[in-house]
């Protein structure tokens, strides 16, 4: 493929912020992981919609279901927070508003993601 970087920047392996490549690659790794996870998630939503509370508890108690659900939630929330961060950075230019929204994004994503994963663990480990 073609490259947009100068020979010197490639030789040094550094961008302006010294870690942009790592961000870029981890965003893509999350995106690739989400392809099978989201397809499995769509299949699971159809399964869960057919059953009630006890069916759902039984479903989450299966190790593979619990693990894939937690992975789906963890990777989606990382992808969501990273994506909305770029949207905020692109459209909001007032320093204070931008900083507040960037923090809100991390806090809402972090809180909802942690609540969701804790809830799945609680059900999977039999505490529900």
């Amino acid at each position: 493929m073609s490259t947009y970087r100068t020979p010197l920047s490639r030789a040094r392996g550094l961008g302006s912020a010294k870690h942009g490549v790592g961000h870029w690659i981890s965003e893509r790794v999350a995106a690739v992981a989400l392809v099978p996870l989201v397809l499995w998630g769509a299949y699971s939503v159809i399964l869960l919609a057919q059953t009630d509370y006890y069916g759902a508890i039984h479903w989450v108690a299966q190790p593979l279901n619990a693990t894939l659900t937690i992975l789906l939630i963890a990777v989606s929330f990382m992808h969501m927070v990273a994506g909305l961060r770029v949207v905020i950075e692109d459209y909001i230019h007032k320093t204070l508003t931008k900083a507040a929204l960037l923090m809100l994004n991390v806090f809402v994503g972090g809180l909802a993601g942690a609540l969701a994963i804790f809830s799945i663990l609680k059900v999977a480990l039999g505490g529900a």
Binding site: M1, A31, I46, I73, L84, L115, S119, K122, V123
Partner: protein
Amino acid sequence: MSPHLSIWRWHLTMATSILHRVTGVGLYLGGLIVAAWAVSLASGPEAYAGFKALLGSPLGLLVMLGMTLSAFYHLGNGVRHLVWDLGHGLDVKTATASGITVFAFTIVATAAAWGVAYMVGAL
């Protein structure tokens, strides 16, 4: 508004680009719905029944239809972006064709998912 939005003739790749953002932001709500599902399941039978009733209401089903369309669009267009990241399909003709493919995939996958859900009695 930036002049670059008003001086260009509207074309398909512009629509696929902004739709990727719109569906991505929409799916943020989808992530919060998944979190609400997990929390309601961990909160007991009554909370879970309430959550299911909310999602099964006409408004809930409409939101879920929007989420299905958004998820399949964002998935298909996300793969298109990953192919671009590898340096392939960036010429105008191919980008337009892959955009049309993503729209077709979105409609077919959404119809298939809801068709299966209906047939197995999930609705």
